[in-house]
Symmetry: C2
Subunit: 334 residues, 2 copies
């Protein structure tokens, strides 16, 4: 199909149906008072001519794009894929389409993406697990009338928030405490590297210290949130610190990478090394031994983000914070 065809406009329909442009517009939008007779007449003509309203023209006057932007760190991580599925399903049900902006865990790209975005492009923004600093993120989000963040706490006026853990790092501390209860003493930590995270291995060590659990900072490693990095960092960590009895991973992917490294190093899991992951992706239940991790409703997190965004887009700027409880699923690695 070439580009040179004539687009069917309201005017064409109006002329053909012998009514004014406004009448056709009203019929198409089901607004205003139109007699049943005229209505069906216009509908028939519009159908016959194959009329489709021009989205840009409509947007220009209504100032609504019917689009929402969803900024994701990495859609090949099943954790985010499932959240995105929830976002898209819910948005779709409400007549919105999703502009996907995948940043590949790259803060520079995330910054570029957010800079490019403005309120003439989308009606709202969902920023999931942002990897950039508050200083960069907040001004960029303030440009938008409706914002929801996932797994990131921002000032209440910026937007609503969906969280899957009460505080950053809360999960890792819980995992370590559980491992301690099961008798492990030398507990390592594969902390996710991201531009933003305020929770560091320093906090990990300190928080657990307060609980009477001593962690050697040398047992903690920073690690990009992908499988390969978990494998590589994990291998180094275990080689340098064979005394480790357990490791807490920042997400399932890196924990699984580390598990592979451990197996290659001859470690027997869980007897020789215990592992706890973080987000219960499908693969985690299917490996041998299956990974102990935290379960949460990822789809529902995404769906809720869409719902909260919709409220804001409809002008309800009440600050809302939804907390999704996560549950430790004990499987074969502990």
């Amino acid at each position: 199909m070439t580009k040179e065809q004539h687009r069917v406009t309201l005017e064409d329909v109006a002329r053909e149906a012998g009514v004014s442009i406004m009448t056709v517009s009203r019929v198409m939008n089901n607004t205003g008072r139109i007699s049943e007779e005229t209505r069906t007449q216009v509908r028939v003509v519009a159908e016959r001519l194959g009329y489709r309203p021009n989205r840009a023209a409509r947007t220009l006057v209504t100032k609504r794009t019917m689009l929402i932007a969803c900024i994701m760190p990495d859609i090949t991580n099943p954790y985010f894929a499932e959240i995105l599925q929830g976002v898209e399903d819910t948005a779709w049900q409400e007549g919105y389409n999703v502009l996907l902006m995948n940043t590949n865990e790259n803060p520079d790209r995330e910054y570029a993406v957010l800079s490019q975005l403005d309120d003439s492009t989308v009606d709202g923004v969902i920023a999931c697990s942002s990897r950039i600093s508050d200083e960069q993120l907040i001004p960029l989000l303030r440009k938008h009338p409706a914002v929801v963040t996932i797994n990131r706490v921002l000032p209440k006026d910026v937007g609503s928030i969906v969280l899957s853990q009460r505080h950053i790092g809360h999960r890792a501390v819980l995992a370590a405490k559980y491992l301690y209860q099961t008798g492990r003493r030398r507990i390592g930590y594969l902390q996710l590297v991201r531009g933003s995270s305020s929770f560091t291995s320093f906090d990990f060590v300190k928080t657990l210290e307060a609980e009477g659990i001593t962690i050697d900072p040398a047992w903690c490693r920073r690690c990009p949130p992908v499988w390969k990095a978990g494998y590589e960092q994990g291998k180094m960590l275990l080689e340098e610190h064979p005394e480790l009895e357990a490791v807490v991973g920042g997400n399932d992917l890196v924990t699984l990478g580390l598990m592979r490294a451990a197996i290659e190093l001859g470690r027997k899991i869980p007897d020789n090394l215990a592992l706890v992951g973080a987000d219960d992706i499908l693969i985690s239940s299917q490996v041998t031994p299956p990974l102990t991790t935290f379960r949460m409703d990822k789809y529902e997190i995404g769906a809720m983000a869409s719902r909260l965004l919709l409220l804001r887009m409809q002008g309800d700027y009440t600050y809302r914070e939804m907390f999704f409880p996560e549950e430790l699923v004990i499987r074969g690695t502990t």
Copy 2:
């Protein structure tokens, strides 16, 4: 931020800079002849005022949305997630954003999505592994000036094509032949259910018959392309046909589901039951035993689709067909 603020327009910049609207427009688009002096002057004012061009207004006159639609059956399937990553990265590099339309393997939803889409919404469409029939799909795609399909052959005038297997079902036949070579005789098939697929278990049986391999049609099952379905259908299949020595799966997810069922039924893999998957997602290499499957460059498939689409969007309507070879990766399940 409320909606009531005044948007900075070309007019504001023009007034402030003491030039005409057209001059500002030219500067913003780097078109036309503008003196260096005026150019920087306008740039400074635009920057100070925080001017951002209105995308809808621009689209209305240029007829370009800078958006492409990507229709995906299921982004929680890592196979598609990786393709989507390739699509998005490449589109982004060229200044395009991606409208994600995830259909959750639901043909009705895919039909609805495609019906809603028109050329005033996006500049091009990538339809990945469409689940609807040619009769439905072709007219819907013809509305668009630029189309690329992934894993779906259509008339050459509809759009370009990216394929990861030479013919539908080619992979399954290859897998069966390989299993036969390794001594397996009673080979089952978990065929993916989709609205469209022209390759049926009937073809599977017939094609292999021609190769001298006899398959009992009762060993073939249709199965939705998700893990759970593979597990359930697999369990039924293995219970009803304990004589099976091997099964070919339509994709890795269902094969893995079947593998779980087989293990629960006490089958030893690969001695007691051999398995071949289809798309080498990460999880397949991490389970025990690791899955024998077909490897292909999923990211590159998506990236290529974007590149082919770009060519069409730039007016090069040459039909192109890219074939990505896939390679059998022999691991622990055969």
